[in-house]
Symmetry: C2
Subunit: 695 residues, 2 copies
């Protein structure tokens, strides 16, 4: 253990003991015969809250030290932490490698019961936070997509990774993986490496994502990289399309793909959705659904998979007005941002106030800024640690040429900083692409309050004169003249007026002809226009739900010693909002009357819509608490009498006594977020002889 880590651990232990002492003091105050003055209790409670915040910060610093430290010890501690999380997740069936009894398929995972419940809670909250609160138009489109759609979007041509094959066995590898592995291995194991060479290899790893196919090919050749398992020579590298291909209908003539994103389903429906919204901008459409990516060799466990759930928003807005009426609601938020300038200067992410980031132009526009703020609120309410969440702006070379600005919500976990949400201003690219390919205009209209006078270029070729001069070629010359841009036409007008004739290149003829003044009339006419027709810009927040959930698992996981101190107990500190089960019910001992009470309580919980389980195994209360902590159940109800029961909170382990007919409403109150545990604590007596972990 590094010295600094040891000191952090000591600091944390001290804070925790102060918190415990204060908690005891509060309890004593409450229990004092005759009762303490309310003001006294309130003050003590406030002090306890502040102490808890400090203890939380100390715990986070320790966590950060464990994760951020860049030496080998920290790396292996990150590995050990991940192993502990993943072991718990797999043992408690949060995840299951899919088709496990058939030895599985790389990159495919099932959500088992608690994982599935967490996912469905996350999606329900996403619907509440985005679709409902923002009045978005939610749609649900099929995964099977005909080729024409994905040709228009560019996926058929460009959704590829570069691959090489073992020339003898045919095994496939991702070219960049091989290069990265080679560099890492050299750096770790080759003790003869010169400082220059080491720097070069480190540089390669850093710029890996930006290498062109040509550069990647060069590097593989230069380093003499061979197939890792067989040392056989490798094929040349070639693009592999990452979409799962299939065929629609029985003829075999209609190729289709499993969609690589949900966004296209929204774009192709723009016209109908715009109409549905009363032909008004801005509006947002949203979609939750499966997306597919036939990875060459999936790595990073649950973070890079072949099938995943996306939740995407396409917010359509007038490109001339990207203000947002509700921006004020998020303008005061302050969090970690990592603008382009800081990245290029080698600095680190910094705390910024969102309103300032927008007003200073760091974030391109208010609407983009509004979504960054809403995403921040979404993630932190789920339980993502705000100190391990940052918004990183794309560098110019990361962005598509058409994008106006792009920020990724990155969450730090044991794999490093992981992109979990992308928030991009994609300008008019997608709608234009589908307009062109389908021939259906995907545009918006702005009616002017009164008609506006605009100048419009009018080019009128004289067919008679052109016919006489060019005979059979006349048509091509006419078309070329009509196709001139405003600038070209005005130049021609000036030249014809001053010189009477002008050389003019006609592409379709492949030659230059001479145009005389009488052959064409060019003028700027005044015209009244009643509306502006334009292609809306789209701002796209796109959420990788599986990645968010995995990071949430890491951020929520901690261990604590059992009272017997013979083992570490695992806890997921999920907020009630996402906890897979809100409440467990335990009869203290195995007797019919307690079982009956447990059933009555279970029924009232079900009626209140609270997910719960009954654990009537005869094992000790301590073991049952441990079992329920390990899947992150926030509240446990112990049935120890036939009139009232004990409710225990997971993280503080505090217990209160509540009468049987109030249990469901109390649990609902604290799981719905109407009240905090702190709020209800003072309304009910604490348990005089609390059930402990040893029982």
């Amino acid at each position: 253990m590094a010295a600094s880590e040891e000191s952090l651990r000591q600091a944390l232990a001290e804070k925790q003991s102060i918190v415990d002492a204060q908690a005891d003091a509060v309890r004593a105050l409450k229990a004092r015969p005759g009762g303490a003055a309310q003001a006294e209790i309130d003050a003590a409670v406030e002090a306890l809250k502040a102490l808890k915040v400090e203890a939380g910060a100390a715990a986070r610093r320790l966590q950060a030290a464990l994760s951020n430290n860049s030496d080998g010890a920290a790396a292996s501690s990150r590995e050990a932490f991940r192993q502990a999380v993943v072991n718990t997740l797999e043992r408690r069936l949060f995840y299951i490698p899919s088709f496990k009894i058939y030895r599985g398929v790389a990159g495919l995972y099932d959500y088992g019961p608690p994982g599935c419940a967490v996912k469905s809670n996350v999606l329900a909250f996403w619907r509440q936070h985005f679709v409902l609160e923002e009045n978005m138009l939610e749609v649900d489109c099929p995964c099977v997509t005909p080729e024409v759609v994905l040709k228009a979007s560019g996926h058929v041509e460009k959704f590829t990774d570069l691959m090489v094959k073992d020339e003898k066995t045919g095994t496939c590898y991702r070219a960049d993986h091989l290069l990265k592995d080679f560099c890492k291995e050299k750096l770790e194991k080759d003790l003869t490496l010169s400082p220059d060479k080491a720097a070069e290899l480190k540089h390669v790893i850093m710029v890996l994502d930006d290498l062109s196919a040509e550069e990647l090919r060069e590097k593989l050749k230069e380093y003499g990289i061979t197939a890792p398992d067989t040392k056989n020579p490798l094929s040349d590298l070639y693009p592999f399309n990452l979409m799962f291909q299939t065929s629609i209908g029985p003829s075999g003539l209609s190729p289709g793909y499993m969609r690589p994103e949900t966004a296209q389903g929204i774009f192709v429906n723009f016209k109908d959705l715009y109409y549905y919204n009363g032909n008004k901008l801005p509006f947002a459409a949203a979609q939750i659904g499966q997306a597919f990516r036939n990875e060459i060799s999936p790595r990073q466990g649950l973070l890079r998979v072949r099938e995943f759930t996306l939740a995407e928003i396409e917010h359509f807005v007038d490109p001339d007005d990207k203000s947002h009426p509700k921006f004020v609601d998020v303008a005061n938020l302050e969090f970690l941002m990592f603008p382009r300038a800081e990245q290029l200067a080698g600095k680190s992410a910094k705390q910024m106030i969102l309103g300032e980031a927008v007003s200073k132009g760091v974030v391109n526009n208010e609407t983009l800024g509004y979504f960054i703020g809403r995403v921040f609120l979404f993630l932190t309410r789920l339980g993502i640690d705000k100190d391990r969440l940052r918004f990183r702006q794309h560098l110019p070379n990361e962005m598509a040429h058409y994008a106006a600005d792009c920020w990724d919500a990155e969450i730090e976990c044991s794999y490093g900083w992981i992109e979990c949400v992308g928030i991009a201003d994609r300008s008019a690219y997608d709608l234009r692409a589908h307009s062109e390919k389908s021939g259906v205009a995907l545009v918006a209209h702005e009616k002017f309050p009164e008609p506006r006078e605009v100048e419009k270029l009018v080019i009128v070729p004289s067919k008679k004169e052109l016919g006489l001069a060019f005979k059979g070629s006349q048509k091509m010359v006419v078309e070329a003249l009509e196709a001139m841009s405003e600038k070209e036409a005005l130049e021609m007008k000036a030249t014809l007026e001053s010189k009477g004739e002008m050389d003019f290149h006609v592409c379709t003829l492949g030659k230059t002809v001479s145009i005389m003044k009488k052959m064409v009339s060019i003028s700027m006419d005044k015209k009244k226009e009643h509306q502006r027709v334009f292609t809306p810009s789209v701002i796209e927040p796109s959420f990788g739900i599986g990645r968010i959930i995995y990071c949430l698992f890491e951020h929520s996981f901690y261990t604590r010693p059992s009272k017997a101190e013979d083992e570490q107990l695992n806890v997921f500190s999920f907020p009630p909002l996402v906890a897979p089960i809100k409440c467990t019910v335990f009869p203290l001992i195995k007797t019919q009357k307690f079982d009956d009470v447990a059933k009555i309580i279970a029924k009232s919980l079900a009626a209140a819509g609270i997910s719960h389980i009954i654990d009537i195994t005869g094992t000790s209360i301590g073991k049952r608490y441990a079992r329920t902590d390990e899947i992150g159940v926030p509240f446990a109800v112990t049935v120890d009498s036939t009139t009232s029961v004990t409710i225990r909170e997971r993280d503080s382990k505090q217990q209160i006594r509540v009468s049987i007919d109030e249990v469901a409403s109390v649990v609902k109150e604290v799981t719905d977020g109407q009240s905090t545990w702190g709020d209800v604590m003072w309304r009910y007596p604490t348990h005089s002889t609390a059930h402990t972990e040893e029982e």
Copy 2:
């Protein structure tokens, strides 16, 4: 209009006028100066409720008359009704043909905003009604499935439809569709048809689903059926696998399919789920997700599609004990059942009490019966008309050979009776199939309270003797002897004891050998067993969510004249549970102060989690009511003052006045199902000058 239909219409109109009169009486009672006695009001309200039930029944009888009547007029009225529903659904974007701007793909549909909201409400209720209330283990598995899994399940071999091709153009047709279309056309258009021939064609249509490939081939040949568009000859018929095929990973060597059902994901996880459930039976696992079926030529609009959402339950149970502890909760339900005997006798479905159906053995077991009851409750609470819902038992030839019993929940719509939920007792088939293919035992254990003595067959071949007799073939003979069933072995034992030798056929040798007494010892040994190991039976309720939703649309749709009587207004009478939007907010006239109130109300609705829209278009209140009725919004809030507002119920058009700060809680109460509209009606004043459809 048929005479009986006319009389039903009159009866309905009469009932409705009595309801209206009684409603007025109730209103008068309430408004009486000094107030009526509460008892008097209560009695009047009860009378009104009873009348409404009668009016509802009359309306349903009319509906049934419209749908059931088998003559041409009724058929065309069904068509017209369907057209009206589908027009409304498409115009209001409940559904959109997918990829419409690219001229669509047959059998693929999007859910637009209101459809998507209905779907998400139906799924949320499914989770509440089944997963939560029954403590099921929900899982979420990928759609991409490796071939080995679907080989084990039988889908690779058997999930096929019979297809024929136009020999010249290559166009594909479903063989049974061609035969059906041929018969229908003949029956409709060929006036020279003899009664015998007509009977024959009708019979063919009836038994279409039961025809073997051979019979189908014969019929196509006998009737000289050709390609419908070109009249070209048809190819021989051959099976076409309905799964969308793809390839997993880059090698092209791992075939995979898009899952045709979600069930397999549960079966392959049985071992883990059983462990998760504390190694106890019974338990149920559930899954909601997309499934795929590459139909040859999709028909019936939204009922037969290529991608759809399934919700499936696999309830694992001891085959020796299929009782269900909660069966009493559903035993008194009475609804339309259509047992095998009634079908075979040519009778119609009949009202049965579920408890009797199980006790008389009509339904195979309590667990199957319990799920039938729960499905009935689920569908009727969604808003499916219970008079157009029946449970039809599979005929012996419809069931897989391994199935113990199977009932379909069929819902009547304009396409006829449609299978929407299948509830099958599949015995141990699926788990056994995956056990065999994977080599992993998918079994359950029942520990005996104390060890039991059982007799077990023991076969001990004498390798020495067999080696001497058969030399190189010894191994095959040993294996064949060890593989004998108990019956074969006991016969051999008897023969050897009486005759000293016996002829014995060894398959692997392809010949019969002579076995002498000394070559094998056969005995029944007594052994103590501590547990029973068995493969659980599975009872599978499987819900086609899209079909249920489509039938719900038809059952909820009605038209009513506008007050001006110049047009019919469309209404979807969704219960609040499934309504896409629970509440609309209209400022009565366009003024800033009403707009502000509307925004305050909208905010409180959002905070209460109630989906809503604001309609601030300047159109008349009547038009806005019509617009909101047409997407089935149950409540409309009209802002007509800055202190209190009007809430209007969709179907009764009744209005009450509620203060602004109570709006959200009142709407929540009636949409959550805590209260009915009738309940809140009496707590608030009705609107003195109600907003009418003409405003």
